[in-house]
Amino acid sequence: MVRAREKKRGLLIAFEGPTGAGTSTQRRLFKVWLEQQGHEVVTSKWISSRAIRPLMKARARLHALSAEELCLLQAADFRHRLETQILPALWQGKTVVADRFLFASLARASARGLDLDWLLFAHAPLFWPDLVFYFSVSPTTSTTRVAAGHAPKFYDAGQDVTNIADPIASYRRFVGRMIKEYESLSLIFQFVTVDGEQPIYEQHRRMRQLFEEQRRQPWGQGNLEAVVEWLAWSPAAAEVRRGASIRG
């Protein structure tokens, strides 16, 4: 059933990078362009699950989360979004643009000193996007852009690990570690790097080109595991299950 869906399924495109890298701006531009190309597009944002986000917000406000709790709640948020937003959309042939995907959690948790192998297990089975755009910026650019807006929140600024009272000063230190982790992940998982310091339209033009050059690959083992698990339990997949049992 899953293999049969392969040709009809939608594409998952992830936008990754530190705060201030321009992922949200580029995601919006890219979504409009995809829609003009005839794609039906669904957006999924990091830590936006309707069930888990309120839990995280309440606890983050109290600065009450350890690095492990933060990571496990982010993993739960990722799994819930995957199973309730992303997989149903992909199954229906829609294109999903993820404004930060699981790598956002991995880079930040690694920067907090957690072991990458354990982090990968916490997020397993890993669901692989068809394309990961990584917006590369220097720590200075990221900090300058962040400082130009609202002060980053406690965990975004990494104040739980730097113990620096000033959010911008804390972010300046934390983002260096985060970018280092992103660069490692980029090498391991072969992200497509976009120079986030280039003019906005130049980045967008480059992304269109990279997207058009991309060849569609079948889902790998991790993706198949995640889809099979989703089909087995999800109320959203109940119709798919019923259809399969009628045909079977």
Binding site: P54, L55, E68, E83, W118, S234
Partner: protein, 201 residues
């Protein structure tokens, strides 16, 4: 993730499928220590309030999968370790964790999640000095309880009706089979009156 040692104190895990039974068994076991003026206490499920907070949300947003539920259990356990279990152990106290890791692993196994994933996910939890399982059979297995009675009752209320019914007798039997399997390896014997009265204090 590196497993930290259990410290100077003594961590006792009590595992089972019913929240009420776990609470009663932990209280009975703790009485043995309290009567001899041993310092410490009991660490229960949902100390972080994650599950109580989730219950407040409307059910239509709560289509959580077994894997997500296990991740939330792990987040709650990290909280318990940080604020209840480790501080007690560091002070040389006795702490009874009811439930601890194996209840969640038994739940995951009964739901078809991989044992290796479950084991590695909970690698952060220090091994208990002793682990016991509660005797459960007959009428008790059929009692569904209320969602906030315990982890399995919560999962039974959340998981969709057409998926493995976490509250069913068969499901609880599968969980108990896993705990009995541990007993076979001398890792999680049954908690009996004799076991309670023979606890070193």
């Amino acid at each position: 993730m590196a497993r930290r040692s259990a410290g100077k104190g003594r961590l006792i895990a009590v595992e089972g499928t019913r929240g009420h039974d776990l609470r009663d068994a932990a209280a009975e076991l703790w009485q043995r220590f309290e009567a001899r003026e041993v310092h410490g206490g009991v660490s229960s499920w949902d100390a972080s309030g994650i599950f109580s907070d989730l219950r407040v949300e409307k059910r239509k947003h709560l289509s959580l999968s077994p894997r997500t539920l296990v991740l939330l259990y792990a987040a709650d356990l990290v909280f318990r370790l940080r604020w209840q279990i480790r501080p007690a152990l560091d002070q040389g106290q006795v702490i009874i964790a009811a439930p601890y890791v194996d209840t969640a692993v038994a739940f995951g196994v009964a739901e078809g999640l991989s044992r290796s994933w479950l084991t590695k996910l909970f690698a952060f939890a220090p091994p208990p000095a002793a682990c016991y399982r509660i005797k459960e059979r007959g009428k008790a297995l059929r009692s569904k309880g209320k969602p906030l009675d315990g982890f399995v009752e919560f999962c039974a209320a959340i998981l969709a009706d057409d998926v493995a019914a976490a509250g069913s007798v068969e499901f609880r039997r599968e969980m108990l089979a896993y705990l009995e399997e541990l007993d076979g390896k001398n890792r999680c014997p049954r908690l009996t009156r004799r076991v309670i009265s023979s606890q070193p204090v």
